[in-house]
Amino acid sequence: MIQVSNLSFSYTKKPFIQDMNFEVHEGEIFGFLGPSGAGKSTLQKILLGMLPGYTGSAIACGTECNRHDQDFYQSIGVDFEYSTMYEKLTARENLEFFSSLYRQRVRSIDELLSLVGLENDGDKKVTAYSKGMKSRLNFIKALVHDPKLLFLDEPTSGLDPTNSRMMKDVILEEKKKGKTILLTTHNMQDATELCDRVAFIVGGKIFALDSPHNLIMSRGAAKITYSWLDNDIEKTGSCQLDRASEDVTLKGLINENRLLSIHSSEPTLNDIFIDITGKTLV
């Protein structure tokens, strides 16, 4: 669906996006994960044909992005990181206008509104919307023409847990219908939960690219930590889960039934991100 090879781009003379290579397969959710300023939105804009001055190649839906024709946008849905609505008009008027621009069959506006819990707010003006409501409205706007490729820029940022859950469910529902989804986020939980594959991006470079599961497994397996009482003093020990049988202390404690507590913990994508890039996500 998307092929990027040797892609470089900069807003200034200083190099920014450098020699990037990756592919996004049809039907997958692909995430750009990185801190603010990493170049996630810039990458999306390149793939949307909004920044034609790049070198190398970026192909979306079979079209080189800086040489697309107008039909390019028929099968693409975009949710920018900021609100792109007529503030003076109601949500419904906005959605009606944007969907009227497309030739193909469009989705029912009522259905879209209720998908994200805005069924009772359709006739309110967008100015009266809260930030979270605007995010949800912007998101469903990207779906009106039922595009097969979706670009979502920080779709869940600024949403409370309930609305974030609702939004993620809709995203997963779209994936089930066979849509290809490219999303950016700096929220590792969302990335782990939604993405088939993620690219770690910092300073315009990809540091790692794999499924969240593989990335987590690649760095140190899960660990066991345990505690016991030694002369009324609590002590703790730890070992790798896959080498538990080699831990003599643990074995002894188990045999003597002296364990006070025991848990295993997997590293999070956040830990892995810090490990690989040396940067935190926020």
Partner: protein, 238 residues
């Protein structure tokens, strides 16, 4: 063909949008009002002036100039309304969004600037024979309408490129409307000094009417095209 569909939808949307603040009504009515005021008011005043001063004529030598300005006014009003809509849409990030829909960047600018300009041209070309003061041949009247329309496009592009909000846009419209005054130059400034202002497209319409030579229209179109090309590049880099 699909282009035409989305462009007309986008244009009609703009009409509905400006209907809300009476801008549409004002823009629609003012060409006829101004035309009627000129056609009936100016000769009336001229009569009074001639009687009062005893001169054979006072304003009559400038009737052609007044027609140039009348041919410019409808495109300026229409393009001003369009520029205001564009600036408001820019504030709401709508333009950037429309660029990545079926409408596209080109379709957006066609629906916001070219379509209003073409309508302004048709209205101007229709009203000029009715309200024009100087008796011009059809070719000259059409030329004046074309010149006025190109100037309207230039003013709209100037406003859209140089201002970042509606307030700045209003101020800039007033300022860039001074471009119309280039037409006065050939009437009041001797050659070759007047050529200093030949970068103004309306300077050449002034020359055309003042010297009664339609060939100057070519220079007017050429200068206008340079303006439009430069502003087009500038707005793309904005």
């Amino acid at each position: 063909m699909s282009r035409i569909r989305s462009i007309s939808i986008s244009f009609i949307h703009m009409l509905k949008f400006v209907k809300k603040d009476m801008m549409l009504l004002a823009a629609g009515v003012s060409p006829v009002m101004i035309g009627a005021a000129i056609r009936f008011g100016i000769p009336f005043i001229e009569n009074l002036l001639v009687k009062y001063t005893g001169l054979p004529y006072v304003m009559e030598p400038y009737y052609g100039l007044i027609d140039i300005l009348f041919a410019a006014i409808t495109p300026v009003i229409f393009c001003f309304v369009a520029a205001m809509v564009i600036l408001e849409e820019h504030d709401d990030h709508i333009d950037r969004y429309l660029f990545v829909t079926d409408l596209g960047r080109r379709g957006y600018y066609i629906s916001r600037i070219i379509v209003p300009a073409v309508i302004a041209f048709v209205i101007t070309a229709a009203l000029l024979p009715i309200f024009g003061l100087s008796d011009q041949v059809v070719a000259v009247e059409v030329s004046l309408a074309i010149a006025g329309t190109l100037q309207g496009i230039i003013i709209a592009l100037l406003v859209v490129t140089l201002s970042s909000n509606k307030l700045e846009g209003m101020a800039l419209t007033k300022l860039s409307s001074l471009l119309m005054l280039g037409a006065v130059v050939p009437y009041i400034m001797p050659k070759p000094y007047s050529y200093i202002l030949s970068f103004m497209p309306s300077f050449w319409t002034g020359m055309m009417i003042n010297e009664n030579n339609i060939v100057y229209m070519a220079a007017c179109v050429a200068v206008s095209m340079v303006w439009i090309a430069l502003l087009g590049i500038a707005s793309k880099n904005k």
